[in-house]
């Protein structure tokens, strides 16, 4: 059969195929059963035609015509069903904690890199508050001291002032915490692609900075200490843990590049990158929760003991969530 005859014979099938590909691309899996069967048949036919054209050297024009159609059909035909809300819910309640536990080693490394510098700096600055000035400028220190001063005005206003700020400053802070903290967490994760150098640097740097701030404020006075600790204890559970979680996700990427094992580096990235990004998104979700707690609960004019109790509950919640949510007793 000559090229001309071949084209004449197959032209109508290709036309119909092109139509169906277009439909499938536009309407996302909404072809009828008959149309789908037809599509499938035409698809295989077009693949066969493409192979024929290639083997007979019938020119790049015809080849790229069929290649273009088949690539589009391939892309549309093998698409997964679209995600839905139930999937997102399942991700939060089950998938994320499970994936997290499968990769807990990375989290433990990231947590060490973050919490050890935090604790050491906190202790050192607490013992010798002067050293805080090595990490932060005097203006920053002064501002931080003011932030956690026992404010007489605020005490007078009490609940009234707090409620008034609810729909204003508080919301503003919530937005800022999400923008800033979740942004940092996602950046810490992404930097894993540069062999984790940025991830480690961010974890250690933030550990030192937060430790220094905490050490300085708690060394100012008992009132400062109580106000600061009761403020941070509740949201700190989600916030600090989430930073370490996303750091761990970044380390997964870094480890895939540095220690690919029996796979090629690209292959290792492909396999482990998927779990890594899921953990990072889980961390961002935790920071969303942290932001709302920090903005709306933490500044509430409640007795310190109530806040400590709430804080303890939250730390337990985080621990239980990451440790036990979606636990599959048969597998884990």
């Amino acid at each position: 059969m000559t090229k001309r005859d071949f084209i004449n014979k197959r032209r109508n099938a290709w036309r119909r195929f092109a139509e169906l590909v277009k439909d499938l691309n536009l309407r996302r899996n909404r072809l009828s059963a008959e149309e789908m069967a037809e599509f499938s048949r035409l698809f295989r036919g077009a693949c066969y035609d493409l192979a024929t054209i290639r083997s007979r050297n019938w020119g790049t024009g015809l080849e790229s015509y069929l290649n273009g159609m088949v690539t589009r059909a391939h892309n549309a035909y093998y698409s997964a069903p679209p995600g839905n809300l139930a999937n997102s819910f399942r991700f939060v309640t089950t998938e994320f904690p499970r994936i997290f536990r499968r990769n807990i080693g990375y989290f433990l490394v990231a947590a060490t890199l973050f919490f050890v510098p935090l604790g050491v700096t906190w202790t050192l600055v607490r013992l010798n508050p002067e050293t805080a000035s090595r990490i932060m400028s005097p203006e920053q220190l002064e501002q931080m001291g003011k932030m956690y001063e026992a404010d007489e005005d605020e005490k007078d206003q009490g609940w009234l002032g707090y409620m008034e700020g609810f729909s204003n400053e508080r919301s503003g802070m919530a937005g800022f915490y999400i923008f800033n903290n979740a942004g940092i967490a996602l950046r810490v994760f992404a930097l894993g692609m540069l062999m984790g150098i940025g991830t480690v640097w961010y974890l250690v740097y933030n550990g030192i900075f937060i430790g220094a701030a905490a050490g300085y404020i708690t060394s100012l006075s008992d009132a400062h200490r109580e106000k600061f600790l009761s403020f941070v204890v509740t949201h700190g559970s989600f916030e600090l843990t989430a930073i370490a979680v996303s750091g761990g996700a970044g380390l997964i990427l870094a480890d895939a590049i540095l220690h690919p094992g029996q796979r090629t580096r690209m292959e290792a990235l492909k396999v482990r990158g998927r779990e890594a990004v899921q953990i990072a998104i889980g961390a961002a979700f935790m920071l969303f929760i942290a932001a709302f707690i920090e903005a709306f609960w933490s500044p509430a004019p409640l007795p310190a003991n109530v806040k400590y109790a709430a804080g303890a509950t939250m730390w337990l919640t985080v621990f239980a969530y990451l440790g036990f949510a979606g636990l599959d007793f048969k597998k884990e």
Binding site: T2, Y65, N75, V277, Q278
Partner: protein, 297 residues
């Protein structure tokens, strides 16, 4: 999948599908991707401006905090997830990519998954490094470096998510380059026994099909090169003026003479060459004979 690295000058990538057919993809180069990126940047810029307006409106109503909160969450979502969500929702195409006919696909030609879209666009902040003027002006140095180093133009995000950005040009069935019936085939008595390969004939066909891309002079200059070689191989005894002055017409005649044998398996081609050649000579007066002959071959 690409096996051993072969030096290439084009940006194509081949993929073998479950149907056992090899598909080739035209990878998108830096210029197109930059263009698409700028359009997307413009769109997210519009959202940022909208956020500013929210803050101003809220400030007028005495609720600047609330406005700032909403705006910051919006900015966060757009900055981190605009690309990921549009790529996922429009099956690999952000609005910018749509404008430039680009599409992100998984290795293997499959549509991009939500996690791949999120991953490749989270890693975007690393690709965008270094940033100038604070973080306002991304240089995309890392992404470019990675794109050139990988050879198949993958940024770090593409590497992590196993994706590639391809060009999707519109597909059209190529037209017949010439009206075959009007071309006078070569006189069999003027040429030897040589018969050009299918590849050569395809080349002639494509060259003729795209002859309008070139100027008349340049087109004929190029056609002459091939025409001279073929005239020699064919041991062409006819008017030499035809080869030098009308090389395109000469090539068309060669095509008209031999195109019937273009596809035949080697064995059947040998069997049918004689009768086919005669049929080819007669064809101008009997175009309908075409199909019958073809089927027999």
């Amino acid at each position: 999948m690409r096996s051993a690295p072969v030096p290439r000058v084009d940006l194509t990538e081949s993929v073998e599908t479950p149907e056992n057919v090899v598909l080739t993809y035209q990878l998108a180069g830096p210029a197109l991707r930059l263009g698409a990126y700028l359009i997307d940047l413009l769109i997210s810029g519009v959202v940022y401006v909208f956020c500013l307006m929210i803050v101003f409106a809220a400030a007028m109503a005495g609720r600047v905090g609330l406005g700032a909160g909403v705006a910051l969450i919006l900015v966060f979502l757009v900055f981190w997830f605009y690309f990921a969500l549009t790529e996922w929702f429009f099956r690999g195409r952000t609005p910018g990519k749509m404008a430039f006919r680009l599409r992100v696909i998984q290795d293997g030609g499959y549509p991009i998954t939500i996690w791949s879209a999120v991953l490749r666009n989270l890693v975007r902040v690393v690709d965008a490094m270094p940033t100038a003027v604070g973080a306002a002006f991304p240089v995309y140095g890392v992404g470019l470096l990675s794109a050139f180093a990988t050879g198949n133009f993958r940024t770090l995000g593409d590497l992590a998510a196993r994706t590639m950005v391809i060009e999707e040009n519109p597909v059209r069935l190529p037209r017949e380059p010439v009206i075959l019936e009007r071309i006078q085939p070569l006189n069999r008595s003027e040429i030897g026994g040589f018969s050009p390969s299918a590849r050569t004939l395809s080349l002639i066909e494509e060259f003729l099909g795209r002859r309008y891309v070139l100027t008349y002079r340049r087109g004929h200059e190029m056609a002459q090169m091939l025409a001279k070689v073929l005239a020699k191989r064919l041991n062409y005894q006819g008017d030499p003026e035809v080869v030098t002055r009308y090389p395109m017409a000469f090539l068309a005649s060669i095509y008209a003479t031999f195109h019937k044998t273009l596809d035949d398996d080697k064995d059947t081609a040998g069997l049918t060459r004689g009768p086919d050649a005669r049929a080819g000579q007669k064809r101008p007066s009997q175009p309908s004979q075409n199909a019958a002959n073809g089927d027999r071959a």
